[in-house]
């Protein structure tokens, strides 16, 4: 019996589901192991009978919570995919602004028609069994998580910073090049892809379990960033994780 999988999306850009669609030929191999019963972006058929639910996007409204809870009820395994679902993602930038101001900026006096609260990862609402981090997710990491779930083992997600992968890839450290990188406190697993492409780490995979935040902030300031900017850097993706602390 092939496990049934379903894809759901909340507040996000759908980029993670696109990565799944971008598996190209590997989708065919994957379909040999699972049956896709729900993938709104790609198929018409829908079903409430599924074993594994992949959820993309943050929870940004009270009304999203019910939908999430229903998914949790239906699924044996819930996997959060993409930064918005795993850590709140870029959506959590707005958490630091006055939400009423934000609404008014957008919708003027119709603001109260539009419901919003602090953007949060889905595990703030329901228990989550596995995470595929990143903005967007890495296709190979997604496949590794799926393979692990199919083999009945807990996916191995690193608990060390991006620096590990960056050094293995023999990159010139961003700080040596005048860039302000947040890799030293960001969870690895992306193979330092952004530094490999010539830039720096922005933190899209979230903080490691026990980041030395003070040390990272000191490093940023030592290399020339203002205190304010150092704090703002942490809010780009860590908006929800920071609040939790």
């Amino acid at each position: 019996m092939k496990p049934k999988v379903a894809f759901f999306d909340f507040a996000g850009c759908e980029g993670d589901q696109l990565q799944v669609a971008n598996l190209e030929e590997e989708i065919l191999a994957l379909l040999g192991h699972v049956e896709v019963v729900n993938f709104r972006e790609v198929m018409k058929e829908q079903s409430d009978n599924y074993d594994i639910a992949f959820v993309e996007g943050s929870c940004t409204r009270l009304q999203d919570e019910d939908r999430l809870k229903q998914i949790r009820k239906n699924a044996k395994i819930v996997v959060a995919i993409g930064a918005c679902a795993t850590i709140g993602g870029i959506n959590s930038l707005k958490n630091y602004q006055d939400l009423d101001d934000v609404r008014r900026t957008v919708y003027g006096d119709k603001a109260q028609l539009f419901d919003t609260y602090a953007a949060r990862p889905i595990d703030a609402v329901i228990p989550v069994d596995a995470y595929v981090h990143g903005c967007p997710i890495d296709r190979d990491e997604f496949l590794n998580v799926v393979k692990s779930l199919l083999l009945g083992k807990k996916p191995e997600i690193p608990n060390y910073p991006v620096c590990v992968e960056c050094k293995k890839n023999e990159n010139v450290c961003a700080f040596e090049r005048g860039e302000f990188c947040i890799g030293p406190v960001t969870r690895a697993g992306c193979n330092s892809c952004c530094v490999n492409e010539g830039t720096k780490c922005w933190g899209c995979r979230g903080l490691v379990d026990n980041p030395n935040e003070n040390s990272q902030k000191e490093v940023l300031i030592k290399y020339g960033l203002t205190v304010d900017d150092a704090i703002k850097k942490f809010r780009l993706y860590f908006g929800w994780q920071e609040r939790k602390k």
Binding site: V172, P184, V185
Partner: protein, 638 residues
Amino acid sequence: MRVISKEDFDSFVNSIINDDSLNVIGVKSKGDKFAFGTLESANDLRLDYDVTLLPPKKYFFPQRETLVTYDVATGFVAKDPADLKPTVLLGVHPYDIAALLQMDEIFRDTKSDPYYFEKRKSSIIIGLNIQNMSERCFAPLMGCATIENGYDLMLTDLGNRYAINIGSRKGEELLEKHAKNVKAALARDVQLVGQKKQEIMNMSQQEFDFPTELIPEMLSKTYDQNGFWKEHSEKCLACGSCVLVCPTCYCFDIKDDPNLSLKEGKRIRTWDGCLLEDFAKIASGENFRPTRPTRYRHRYFKKGKYLFDRFGFVSCVGCGRCSSNCLPDIANPVDLFNDMYSEVLDMGLEIDATAAPEVSIKTEGDINYVPKLATIVKKTPMTDIETLFEIKLDDGSILNQMPGQFVQVSVLGVGEAPISVSSSPTQKGMFQICVRKIGSVTTGLHRLNEGDKIGIRGPFGNGFDPEALKGKDLLFVAAGLGIAPLRSLLNYVLDNRAEYGRVIVLYGCKEPREQLFGDELVALEKRDDVEFKNTVDWCPENEVWEGNIGVITTLIPQINFDPEDTYAIVVGPPIVYKFVIADLKKRNMPDDHIIVSLERRMKCGVGKCGHCQINHIYVCKDGPVFNYSDIKGVPEAL
């Protein structure tokens, strides 16, 4: 010594690049820095470099390397090195050559790593005397700024020409085949080379406030200076940079990578580092080096003391990579050791240079990374989370383990984990492992059934010594899952009962339903040549228990024994050792009568990957069974 003009040298380089039988690597620029990479032409070369981002060890001990491939139908096979073209490494600084020589010793210690040596032996090293030294380089302080061996050719830049020292026949042949107009060096050239080497000794901007030879002893004296280590490691990001760029670091992790078919896959080795938070963490969640100060301290001790004691060299060549790659700048060994020297002076201590130890490294064969296929012959659940598996090796061979040894068990596609063998070698034809379901591999194992296949490597480790215990009274103390490895010795003793004195067995669990080997315990109790007592920490309402209630130590006062004639074999979770040993000591048991078995995170099983290391000891190789007197003074042990 020979000389060659720079022009002819370039032709030589282009000639070897065009030789299809060679893989030519040289130093190239990368951003504003430098790295070893494949040369397309002599123009790529940057021999004026100061230091490369990563050391040349990446060619012999790569960042990621497939060791073994597997197929669920046919089992595991060593990865074929395929066509290994000889690699020419051009422009290697003496400190990096020194590091390779150190790695050679480390990788051939006791057992030799075939993957490393395959690549090493076909390589051709063209060294280069340092022209520019990086700001943090302190190779002169470590005696590695110049080197007299370890290369096939050594170049020194003399302005319009290179002086070439021939280091081997291989080097000479390379010159003969590809270089033109190589002349004998003149006296002037020889003199210039000597002069250059002198200059190099003075190039470093780093200085020790003390003689280098004091390092091992300084370290020993400051192990317990917790304030010192805390202060120096406060800013550590656990990013691993210092160890990943180090030319003498060699810790690695092993992971399985299944294909999408789930039926085949690879087992991969990848660089790991002791500074990373989860380096010493096991599946139960226990982390044996959980804090920054302990991990930070370990790196210096491994390099400056443990490896020195074993191999006779401080395992640091002064390249300065760790120092310049540490963002909070806390990884400069020069700063650390200078601070340590002040600390030592403040403590009012006198430090001597440690004489290099007598080193005798023997190599007895290759490390085996390839598991054998085995079948689960019987599966007996014992509790909710523990199951006893009876295993038979498919090729019909006997495991031939000593009691107390362990095997590395592979669940195909999931991974490999170390599990003690629970049966005595007196039981022929099969062996047993008692497995607690706690992590990926053990959970995977629990999902398998009789007839299913697994992989087995081993037996590994230092086991119990049943011979040495003959004629003695034996006090077995088992707590929780500790009974599993203990049983291998207990059953051996019972199968040879007449050769041993009294046999006392104390067994404690948290609660009644966690008891293992229930039937065997009942049989033990009935035997009149065994004194058996068991206890539970507590008994929940819905369970029945008529025996002793209390922690395991409550059983010790209930038995009499003569400490001079009795040997205690104690196995249990870390917390138990502390209290049981204290109680045994109160009863005057000598240190060397107490035998323990420790667990740590283990990957290779042969004392290389570094995960099980406690101070200078490898639990997988020097243990898991230890005599207490040997580890009493090892701070990380208990």
